[in-house]
């Protein structure tokens, strides 16, 4: 593909993506159009057609490269959220992690290498719902949930580049 701003990514990154798909990922992790026919708007911008864009995105969802077309939210502007961590004995980690994951208020649930080994983000419509959820997790699992709410951000999620820095 010929796009000087976006050099061809190294082949080990998603080798089965088409040139159109690479371009879609490079350019539409942000500023997705809010026109009645957004995929036609995208097609117009990059010289493709609506049907191809729809097919290309559907295919990336099927293959697991794209989770969804959606939004990330600024902390503090949409409801309430916090980073949280738990200290779980290794032999119970998977069981507890799955219990935690099943709360729909949880996202980004990871095992990390530390004494505090289970890390996740809790989001809710308001602070009261957030507290309720955290207490429910503690009751359900029998382990304490430590909270690390954000004070301020210096860099927010901007999406991922397909080429390495």
């Amino acid at each position: 593909m010929s796009n000087n701003r976006n050099p061809k990514p190294t082949p080990d990154l998603a080798p089965d993506l088409s040139a159109l798909q690479i371009r879609l990922i490079e350019e539409f992790q942000r500023d997705f159009p809010t026109t009645p026919r957004p995929f036609a708007t995208i097609a117009e911008k990059i010289g493709s057609d609506e049907e191809s864009v729809i097919t290309a995105i559907s295919d990336m969802k099927t293959k697991g490269y794209v989770d969804r077309v959606g939004a990330t939210y600024a902390t503090g502007r949409a409801g309430a959220s916090t980073l949280a961590a738990m200290e779980i004995p290794q032999d119970q980690l998977e069981k507890i992690a799955n219990l935690v994951s099943h709360f729909t208020e949880i996202n980004h649930n990871y095992e990390r290498e530390d004494k505090l080994n289970l890390w996740f983000v809790v989001t809710a419509a308001d602070q009261a719902s957030l507290n309720t959820t955290i207490h429910s997790i503690e009751a359900k699992t029998g382990f304490a949930v430590h909270r690390m709410p954000m004070i301020e951000h210096y860099r927010l999620d901007l999406g991922f580049a397909l080429q390495w820095n």
């Binding site: 990922i25 293959k63 959606g70 649930n109 290498e113 996740f120």
Partner: protein
């Protein structure tokens, strides 16, 4: 910021992603029983008011080759954290950077940054560069690489509810299929060495 009921409902709808078809906003409008223009205007407002920070394709970064994910935490004097945070945030390999509250007697760290990279060797080199560049050698810090990803999905900012909600899989004892990367296997997804 207080969100309207319609905004809450739209955010909840968007958790599953925009339908991938010709008129996605019309489809959402139909489901919510409001005009298409109202859905579009509401999204435009959420974006303009910066409630939505980013609207677009949400990729599964692990499947795109970002397999090493380090959370670096520092215990920095509160009055120095903003200046250092701003410089840290501008390093090309830093993907996220925040100041967070400490947890008394448990977690003294207040400055966080995330580095998503191809492999641990590269990410460790980037962390060394960051520590040298920002003169953080004497600051208490930790690097927490992620090992397993159990869930990556959208945040739930929908309508407030009295009780916390478990999804149906929990009630039926099903496994967690909410993948973070390409994997046909449920439960543990994307184990990293």
């Amino acid at each position: 910021m207080e969100l309207s009921e319609l905004q809450h409902r739209l955010i909840e709808k968007l958790r599953d992603g925009l339908p991938i078809g010709k008129r996605p906003y019309a489809l959402i409008a139909l489901e919510l029983g409001v005009p298409e223009e109202t859905v579009i205007e509401t999204f435009d407002h959420l974006i303009k008011d910066k409630v939505i920070n980013r609207f677009g394709m949400i990729v599964r970064h692990r499947s795109l080759g970002y397999r090493a994910n380090a959370m670096c935490v520092f215990d920095i004097a509160d009055d120095l954290a903003p200046d250092i945070g701003k410089i840290m945030a501008n390093l090309p390999y830093v993907t996220l950077c925040y100041r967070r509250e400490r947890v008394k007697d448990v977690w003294p760290y207040n400055l966080y940054c995330m580095i998503h990279g191809r492999d641990r060797l590269t990410v460790r080199a980037q962390i060394r560069h960051m520590i040298a560049r920002l003169d953080l050698g004497d600051i208490p810090s930790k690097i927490l690489f992620s090992k397993q990803c159990f869930t990556q999905r959208a945040g739930k900012y929908g309508a407030p509810s009295a009780s916390s909600s478990l999804d149906s899989a929990a009630l039926t004892g099903g496994s967690n299929t909410d993948a973070c990367a390409i994997s046909p296997k449920p439960s543990v997804i994307g184990r990293i060495s």
